[in-house]
Symmetry: C2
Subunit: 360 residues, 2 copies
Amino acid sequence: MQKYTIPTLIINESIARANIKRMATKARNNGLSFEPHFKTHQSKEVGEWYRDEGVEAITVSSISMARYFAVNGWDKITIAFPVNILEINELSNLSRSVTLTILVQDREVLTELTTLGNTVNIFIEIGAGYHRSGVMHDELDRIGEIISSISNSKHYFKGFYCHAGHSYKARSSKSIKVVYEELESIMSTLKSHFIQHKPHIAVGDTPTCSVVDSFKGIDSIHPGNFVYYDYTQTQIGSCNISQVAAYLLCPIVAIQKDRNELIMYGGGVHLSKEAFESNGQKHFGLVGQLDENGNFEAFKESYVKSISQEHGIVSTTPDAIVTLRVGDLVAILPIHSCMTVDCMQHIFTEKGKLLSKLTK
Amino acid sequence: MQKYTIPTLIINESIARANIKRMATKARNNGLSFEPHFKTHQSKEVGEWYRDEGVEAITVSSISMARYFAVNGWDKITIAFPVNILEINELSNLSRSVTLTILVQDREVLTELTTLGNTVNIFIEIGAGYHRSGVMHDELDRIGEIISSISNSKHYFKGFYCHAGHSYKARSSKSIKVVYEELESIMSTLKSHFIQHKPHIAVGDTPTCSVVDSFKGIDSIHPGNFVYYDYTQTQIGSCNISQVAAYLLCPIVAIQKDRNELIMYGGGVHLSKEAFESNGQKHFGLVGQLDENGNFEAFKESYVKSISQEHGIVSTTPDAIVTLRVGDLVAILPIHSCMTVDCMQHIFTEKGKLLSKLTK
C-alpha cells in the first residue's frame, strides 16, 4: 500500500469488480436488464468496470451526473429522480445526444416536457411502501390519467419505476425478502392492470437485489450501493464485511490513552455525518486497518463514536491502543458509502490508481 | 433575486457582515485579539469581509485550508487541529511564508517538529469538558513537561487553546454562560499556574462568544460558525433566526398533497445529513422562502423531516401546500451551516455574487 498523508478513500477494485460481476450474473440468470445506479461511485473509471461486465444502460440521480456519464460514452441513461422542470433546457440538450428515460408522477409536469429537444422515455414513479416521491400504487385512476397524457404527447410511456427504499430499514435478509415479496406483488398487480400498455417494470434498491435470487414480473434492476456496500448493508443483511469495497484511511493525530480513544483526522466532511443507530448508541463507522492487499481487518470492539467537522473519535480497546502511534493510518468502514464518496475527492484503488469523480 | 435552477446556497452578505462586525466590536471592547475560524466559510471573498473589520489573524482546521488562505494574503494563521505529522513537509513549506501557530498535546509529536523549515508558535490544546482532543486541564505535570520540551526546541510556547465544544449541547443562553464560566475558571487557574511562561489564553466556540459580553483572563477568541449561524444555534440560544445568513434554495420537484409533504431537490449531499433532535424527532432544516432582499421567512410548522442522497421531504401544512407549485424554490435554513457550506460549490450572495471556496 502507498503511504497516504490525509484522509483518503480507498476503493478495493477487486472486491468492487466481484460485486459487479455477481449482480450482473444474477440479472442475466433472471433475464433482467441490469441498469446500475451510478450515484454511488460517480466515477468514469468505475463505470468502465461495469462496461467490462456487459452493462450498456445506466441510472443516475441528477442531470449533471447524466451529463458527466454522457460525456464519458454512456448513451442510455435513466435519471431516477422526479424531473426538475427548472432544468428543462439542460434536459432538452441532453435528450439530443442520449436515449433518456425520466421519472414523472404528475400530469402538470408533462406539459413542461413539450419543449424537449427530443422524445424521451417516461417511467411513472411508484411510491409503494417508501413514502418519498412517486404515485401510490393503488391510485389507479391517477396512474391511468398520466399514461393517457404521455400517450397523447410526443414522448413514450415506458412503464413503472419503484425504489423500495424502506428495505434499508430491514435488519435481516429475511425481512428484506418480505419487502421484496410485497414489492413484486404490487408491481405485478400494476402490470396486469395496465397490461395493454405493456409496462416495463423497474426496481432497484441494493438490499432486495442482493438478497433475492429469483425475480418474477420484473424487467430491470437498478441498484447502486452494492458496488461498494458499507457498514449499514452488513447490518441489514445485504452482504458481509468482506464484500465491502470502500474504506476511509485516516491519520491518527492524538491518542487519549486514559479513555481508550484515538483522535483521527477524518470527520463529517470526509465520512458524512450519517450514523447507524443501535440500542440508542450512534455509530459513525467500523474501525480497523488495511492489509498489504488493501483488505479490511476490523479491530476488536472498535468504532467511531463521534465526529465533528474534521475530527473523529474512535473508541477502542486497551490492547489495540498500545499498538498504535500518532501518524499511523486507521481504516474506517463507512456507514453509508454513497455519502462518503460524495464527500471525498482523494479516491484511490488499493493499488494506488486515482479514481476521478464528477465534481460538484 | 436571481432565478436558480439547482440546489444553491445563498449567503446573505449584509447579515454575515453584521455578524462579523458585532463579534469584532465585542472583541475590541474586551481588548481581545479576534482570530476567527475560517472553516465555516472556506471562502476568500468572505475572508475580505473580515479584513474590512480589521481582522489580521485567522484560524483554520487543516493544512490545505491554511495554504488556501495564505495564497489569498493571510499571513498569521492558527491551525486549530492536532498536528498531523504525516503532513510535516507541507507544514514546513507553509512555515516559510506564514506566521504559523499550531496545536500540540504530546511530547512525542514535538520531536517530529525539529525538521520544520521555520520556527512556529505552539499552543498546548486543553480538552476541558469537551473530551475530544487536548490534554485535560488538571494534568499539570504533563502540561509542564510539554512546555519544557517546547522551550528546549526551536519553537515558541504560545499558550493554551481550548475549544469548549460542549457548549453546543446547551439549550439556553443561560446554560451557555455556565459553560463559559467553567471555561474561564479553568483557563485562569492554568494561566496562574504557568504564569512564569506568560501563556496566551485562546478560546473560541460560537455559543460562548455569542452570549458572553465580558471576558476575563482571555487573550483571543476564535469562533467560526457565528458568521452564518444556523438552526442549531437558534435552538442553543446563540442567536435568533434573523441573524442566520445561510440558506439552501431547493427546487420543489413533487407535491404529495395527501401527506402535506413536498419533495425537494436537495438532500444529504447538499445539506449534509446532520440532524437536530428534539423530543425523539429528527429535523434536517427549517423551511421557508426568501423575500426579494434575500431575507428568510419561515413557513408555519414546516421542516425537513427526512433526507436521502438528493431528495428532501418537507413536512408542511395544508395552507402552505396549496400555495406552492412544482418548480418553486423553497429556502432551507440548515441545521449546521459549516457542514452545508462544505457540501456545496454553488454559493452566491443574496445579490447574486458568486462566492468561491476552497476545493477539496
